[in-house]
């Protein structure tokens, strides 16, 4: 039943480009990318309880990895994709090290400092990253197997479908991860770290895997974005992107699988519902974030679950 519902939703999303125009398809694709980013953040912040304001930095690291690789080595998407994920994951490991010693405010500030350093490096190190103007990135192009071209990823629609496939695969992997022992251990670390080590869990390893997983997902989204946009600029990966991802996770409900997905879709499509008020988008965004944290700290999903419990 549940499987059927999920299949139906995926099928509906996949059919969307036949019904809506190019602009809407683009919005949907953005939503998918944010779903990956918010789900990634949720691993570390929602499940493992280690706050991070650096998801935008890992997103950028993934994107710039593919941009620099294709510029310097001429390698294509299929080589750059795993490399981009690995490089982002490696930086995730690096940021995870402070998290072993710091908590709460201090950890949050370290992740913010890290995000800022990455942004400044992307925008200042002109000879390596292209500075403020960024770098061009080629299209993914034809996908061939045994010498025959299967299909081409160049049009908006093909990018959308490709992103959908990747997003579904990644979400499935995350779901499996959360159902496995490691998911349970993350929750244990979040609930009570002292107790977690008292029952024999290696909390160091647990936190680091959460940081790596979280960063790797952002890296994956970054590589796809770079190719889809045909280029990268530092301003696509500011701390405000990180804040947006945090907002999506919080609004949807952190520590739940579906919450960040709903939050990402909701906040990405919100400006489209504003019509003539679209320029108030970011303003409303901020207001919404304040209201959610203040009134619905457990997010939409958390609130819905609580209401359901009360009535059953």
């Amino acid at each position: 039943m549940k499987k059927l519902a999920i299949l139906l939703v995926v099928a509906l999303v996949a059919a969307a480009p036949f019904v809506v125009g190019g602009y809407e398809t683009n919005v949907l694709m953005n939503a998918l990318l944010y779903v990956i980013l918010a789900t990634g953040l949720n691993l570390v912040a929602g499940y493992c309880g280690q706050f991070s304001f650096a998801q935008g930095a890992f997103y950028g690291i993934g994107a710039y990895t593919t941009a620099i690789l294709s510029r310097d080595l001429g390698t294509g998407f299929w080589f750059n994709f795993p490399v981009g994920i690995a490089v982002a994951g490696l930086f995730g490991l690096l940021l995870g090290i402070p998290a072993l010693r710091l908590k709460g405010h201090f950890l949050a500030i370290v992740t913010i400092a890290f995000q800022t350093i990455v942004y400044l490096t992307l925008s200042q190190w002109t000879s390596f990253t292209g500075g403020q103007t960024g770098l061009p990135v080629p299209s993914i192009g034809p996908v061939s197997l045994f010498g025959t071209t299967l299909f081409e990823i160049t049009s908006l629609r093909s990018y959308f479908w490709f992103t959908l496939v990747i997003a579904v695969i990644l979400l499935f992997a995350v779901w499996r991860l959360l159902q496995s022992r490691i998911g349970r251990e993350w929750i244990a670390i979040r609930d009570d770290e002292t107790l977690a080590s008292a029952v024999g869990l290696d909390t160091t390893r647990g936190k680091l895997t959460a940081f790596v997983g979280s960063a790797a997902l952002a890296g994956a989204a970054g590589v796809i974005t770079a190719h889809a946009m045909r280029g990268v600029t530092p301003d696509d990966f500011t701390i405000w992107i990180s804040a947006t991802v945090v907002a999506m996770m919080i609004v949807g409900g952190k520590g739940t699988f579906i919450g960040p997905i709903i939050g990402a879709v909701l906040l990405t499509s919100m400006p489209e519902f504003l019509g003539g008020f679209a320029e108030y988008k970011m303003f409303l965004f901020g207001v919404l974030l304040v209201i959610t944290v203040t009134l619905l700290p457990e997010g939409l999903i958390g609130r819905v679950r609580r209401l359901r419990e009360r009535f059953s």
Partner: protein, 290 residues
């Protein structure tokens, strides 16, 4: 050597603005435990208020300064009602996220109402040059460190010798005990936010003659102020004052002798190192967590 002194002076000017922003931030953190990311917006709005008072209403500088103080303090009053009052008994990250939201909202409100075009404050002092040996700068710029020292000195005296100051300090030691001893915690919270906002607003106004004023100037300054707060030790006012000047000087020297591109990065690199190896800050006392 002459150039070195000039860089030093420039660093002190910039550093003074860091001090003003960071001291408010560290007060709000030390006393209320709130990590306020909207603090840069006090700076930004203070700058706009000052520029408007001077250019649109033709106010003399001291009067404009008073306007900025009052206006920013009111902003602080409002921010407390949003960021602190409803957030008691929440985990540390709630106030961070909420203040991030407030920062986004305020910045975009400024963008929508004031527009993106940058403004610069020009007054009768802008063109008067002063020379101190080899160091040269407009009088208005030289007044920034002076204003900073007067304000921080006044704040220090207030905290040291008045009833309000003692209440504030007792709160930072232990909120519950302070409440039991008759400190009106709610009022202290409001006063803390108002003082912090006023200092940041004045900093924005003072710097509006040095840097262009536009809606997103608060971003970088609040991040840098956080590095100063950590370097000085969370909640430590004198620490923040020293660290603020140090950061300004370090940035000025980095830009002059290393590379201009490294200027903004250096503080963040230092802060991560400090948090890893000396989490109590450069000037804080080591404490044992049991």
């Amino acid at each position: 050597m002459d150039l070195f002194l000039q860089y030093l002076a420039n660093g002190v000017v910039i550093g003074s603005s860091y001090v003003l922003v960071a001291v408010g931030l560290t007060l709000i953190f030390g006393i209320l435990g709130v990590v306020n990311f909207a603090h840069g917006e006090f700076y930004m709005l203070g700058a706009y208020a000052g520029v408007t008072a001077v250019t649109l209403f033709g106010m003399p500088l001291p009067l404009a300064l008073a306007v900025v103080l009052v206006f920013s303090a009111l902003l602080g009053f409002g921010a407390e009602a949003i960021l602190h009052k409803p957030m008691k008994n929440r985990d540390a990250t709630s106030s961070i996220i909420s203040s991030f939201g407030l920062a986004v909202a305020l910045q975009n409100a400024a963008l929508l109402t004031l527009g993106p075009q940058p403004r610069l404050l020009k007054t009768e002092f802008s063109t008067i040059p002063i020379e101190l040996g080899p160091v040269f700068m407009p009088l208005q710029r030289a007044l920034i460190p002076v204003a900073m020292m007067v304000l921080i000195g006044a704040l220090y005296l207030i905290l040291r010798y008045t009833w309000t100051g003692r209440s504030l300090r007792s709160m930072s030691q232990h909120a519950t005990v302070a409440r039991l001893c008759g400190v009106r915690v709610e009022r202290v919270a409001v006063v803390t936010f108002m003082v912090g906002a006023a200092l940041a607003g004045v900093a924005g106004f003072l710097m509006s003659s040095v840097f262009m004023v536009h809606p997103i100037i608060g971003n970088m300054i609040v991040l840098k102020a956080f590095t100063v707060v950590i370097l000085g030790g969370m909640g430590n006012i004198l620490g923040a004052a020293v660290a603020g000047l140090l950061l300004g000087i370090t940035e000025s020297m980095t830009s002059a002798y290393l590379a201009n591109g490294l200027r903004d990065i250096i503080g963040f690199v230092i802060v991560i190192a400090v948090l890893l190896f000396r989490p109590q800050g450069l000037f804080g006392k080591a404490f044992e967590r049991s």
